[in-house]
Amino acid sequence: MERPPLTAVGPLGWLRQNLFNSWLNASLTLLLALVLYGLGRGIIPWIFGEANWRVVSSNLGLLSWGRYPVEQAWRLGLALGVIVVLSVISWRASRLPAGARLRRLSLTGWLISPLVVGVLLRGLKLPTAATVVNSLGYYLYRPELLPLLEQEWRAPFAVVMLGTLVGLTWSIYADRRRRILSGLAALALLGLLLPLGLQPEELLPGLAPPRMLKLLAFLAAALLAGRSLGRSLSGAEGLRRSMLPAWLLLPPLLVLLLTGFDVGVDSVAPSEVLLLVEPTVWGGVLLTLVLATVSILASFPIGVLLALGRRSELPVVKWICVAFIELVRGVPLITILFMAQVMLPFFLPLELTLDRVVRAMAGLTLFTAAYLAEIVRGGFQAIHREQYEAARALGLNELLVTGLIILPQALRTVIPPMMGQFVSIFKDTTLVTFAGLLDLLAVAQSVIKQREFLGLVREVYLVSAVFYFVISYTMSRASRQLEKRLGVEERAT
C-alpha cells in the first residue's frame, strides 16, 4: 500500500492546510504568532514572578463568600458537595436508558436540591408543636372570646372532650373507618399532651406534677363514657352524620381551652436547627452564583409562560404579557435593579419584608424572563403549521398540542440563544453592586483598597475575570452538549 505524501497528512499536513494554505493566510499566521509572543512575553513572567498573589490568598474567604460567618462555612462546602454528587449521579444516569431507576433518582434529587441547598445556605428555624398551637390560637381567635372557664380546669376539660369523641366514634363506626379514626385520635392526643407537658408550669397552674397522670385518668374516664354513650344511641343516623363536624370542631376548641391564647410566650419561640445566616451577609463568589442560579431557574418558567401568554387568544392575557415584556425590555437592567429595591415593597403586603438580596433576585429574574419570552416566541415561530394540524387531527386538545408537540420543539430550537441569555445574565449580576450588594466584583474592589495590598489591582481583577470566564465557558459547553443530546440538528423538521 502506498502511503500518502507526508505533506498531506499528519501535523505537517494540518499546518499546511489550515495555517499556510495561501500567501494571505501564511502572513496572517505569522502576524498572529508575533502578537501572541508579544503578549505572552509580558504576561507570563508577571504571573509567575512579579505578581503578589498574597492579595488573593489572604482574602480567599472574603472573595468566596463575603461576610458569611467562617465557622459556618462548612455548610457552603456541604451544599457544593450535594451539587457535585448530584452531577455525578446524573452523568452516570445519562448513559442509561430512559425510565431507569437511577434516572428517576437523579431527577428527584435535582428537584429537591434547591430546598436542601437553600436550607444549608440560609439556615433553618423549625417551629415546635407549642409554637404551632400558639400561632393557631393567635390567628384564629381573639383573646376577648375567652370562655369563663377557670384556668385550672381547661386542660382536663379538653382531654375529656377529646376522649368522649374518640369513644363515641369507636362505638359508632366499625372496620376500617374505626381504625383510621382511632389512629387520628391517637395522633391528636399525642399532639395535645406533648406540648401540654412542655408548657411552662405557670401556664397551667391547676396541673401540678404529675399532671400527665391526672390527665390520663380523665382521658380513660372520657373514653369509657363516650363508648357507652355511643352504644346506647347506636343506630341514630343523625349522630353518625354529626361525627365529622364534631371532629373538625375539636382542634380549634382544644386550642381555645388549652392555650388561653397566651401568645408570644418566650419559651415557645421557634428553635434554630441551623444558625440563620441572612442573605444580606452573603457575598463574593457565593452571592454571584446564588443570584445567577436563582434568576436563571426562576426566569425559565416565567419566560415560557409569558411567551405562551403572548400567543394567547384571550386579549387581556395577551396584552398584559405584551405590556410586561415590552416594558421590561425597554428599560436598562440597572434601572430595574434600582426599581426592584425601591418599588417592590410597595406591591407586597406589609408583613412580608424582603431583604435586598431577594429583591435583586426578583429584578434579575423579571428582566431575564422578559428576554426569554421573546426568545421562546422565536422558537414558536419556527414550528411549521403542519405540526399543529397533525397534532389536532389526532384529537389532541390545545393544551396537549402545546405541551407535547409545540413547546418541546420550540424550546429545543432556541437552546443556543437561551443559553446566550443565561450567560449574559450571569455576567450582568455584577450590576447588583449598585444596589449595595457585595458580589464578587464588589468584594474585589474593596479588597484592593486594603492598606497592605494597595495597588495590587491586576492580580485581583485577573482572578475575577478567570472566574467569570470559566463559568461562562462551561455554560456554553453545556449548551452544546444539550443540543447534541436532544439531536437538534439531526431531528429537525
Partner: protein
C-alpha cells in the same frame, strides 16, 4: 344510503373573498373508499380538511358519524379522534421516536396504559411493513417509511374514517408503491377512506366511487368504471387525458 357515516350538504368555504368550496354535496357509506381528484386549487384538499375541521366551513352542514360539526369544541375533538388523517408532507413529530409518535394520542387522548399502546404500535408497524424501526427518529427514515409511520400513527387511534391528503405526492417514485400497498390493504380490510390522489391505478384497484373536483365544485362523480370509460363532462375528459399520458 343505508349506513351513511359522512353526510355533507351544500358545503361552502371562503378564504377572504376567494370562494374555495362552492356547494359540495357528498354522502359516504361505512366501508366505502372514495377517491377525489382534480387540478390543483380545485378545493379537494380543502374539502377533506373540513371533514375533521382543520378548516371551518362557513355554510352548509357536515355530519360525521351522527355528530354535526359546529363551533362546539367538544364535538370537534370527539370527531377528530374518530378520524385518522395522513398528510402530503407526513408531518411526523420530529422530536419523538417512531414508537412515541404512534403511542402519543392513544396514551393522552384515549388514556390507554403505555404498555397496551406500545403493543398496538408494534402490531401496526408490522402491518405497514417496518417493524424494526420503532426506536428511530423520523429524520432517520426514508420518505416512504415516514409516510407509513404516519399511517400507523393515524390507525393507532382505531379511527372509523381515514382521510388521505395527497399521501404520495411528496414521495420519490420508487417509494410510492410501498405506501399505496399499505393503503390498498387498508381499503380491503373495510376501512372507510377518503383519498385525495392522482394515483389512478390505486383508484381503479380499490375505489368504490370517484369525485372530480374543479373550481370548488364537484364536476362529476361515479364508479371508477364510469369515470375512466365514459366520462360525461369535457373537463373530466381533458384532465384525465392530461394525467393518464404519463
Amino acid at each position: 344510503m343505508a349506513d351513511t357515516i359522512i353526510h355533507c350538504t351544500n358545503v361552502h368555504k371562503w378564504y377572504g373573498h376567494f370562494h374555495a368550496l362552492r356547494g359540495i354535496d357528498m354522502d359516504v357509506a361505512r366501508g366505502e373508499v372514495i377517491v377525489i381528484f382534480g387540478p390543483s386549487g380545485s378545493g379537494k384538499s380543502t374539502f377533506i380538511r373540513t371533514i375533521n375541521r382543520l378548516e371551518e366551513h362557513q355554510r352548509g352542514t357536515i355530519v360525521v358519524d351522527g355528530i354535526e360539526l359546529t363551533h362546539d369544541v367538544r364535538n370537534i375533538s370527539a370527531v377528530r379522534s374518530e378520524i385518522g388523517m395522513v398528510f402530503q408532507s407526513f408531518n411526523l413529530f420530529p422530536h419523538l421516536t417512531v414508537s412515541q409518535n404512534i403511542t402519543l394520542a392513544p396514551i393522552w387522548v384515549r388514556k390507554w396504559p403505555k404498555e397496551k399502546a406500545e403493543e398496538i404500535a408494534q402490531q401496526l408497524l408490522v402491518r405497514v411493513g417496518i417493524p424494526e424501526q420503532s426506536d428511530k427518529y423520523p429524520g432517520h427514515l426514508s420518505g416512504g417509511q415516514q409516510q407509513r409511520v404516519a399511517i400507523a400513527r393515524a390507525l393507532a387511534m382505531q379511527p372509523k374514517i381515514m382521510l388521505f391528503d395527497e399521501p404520495t405526492s411528496a414521495l420519490d417514485p420508487e417509494m410510492i408503491k410501498e405506501v399505496l400497498d399499505v393503503m390498498i390493504g387498508l381499503a380491503k380490510s373495510g376501512m372507510t377512506m377518503l383519498v385525495v390522489t392522482h394515483e389512478m391505478g390505486f383508484a381503479r384497484a380499490v375505489a368504490d366511487r370517484m369525485y372530480f373536483f374543479d373550481e370548488g365544485l364537484v364536476i362529476e362523480s361515479g364508479t371508477p368504471n364510469e369515470i375512466f370509460e365514459q366520462p360525461r363532462e369535457d373537463r373530466t375528459k381533458l384532465f384525465l387525458s392530461q394525467i393518464l399520458v404519463h
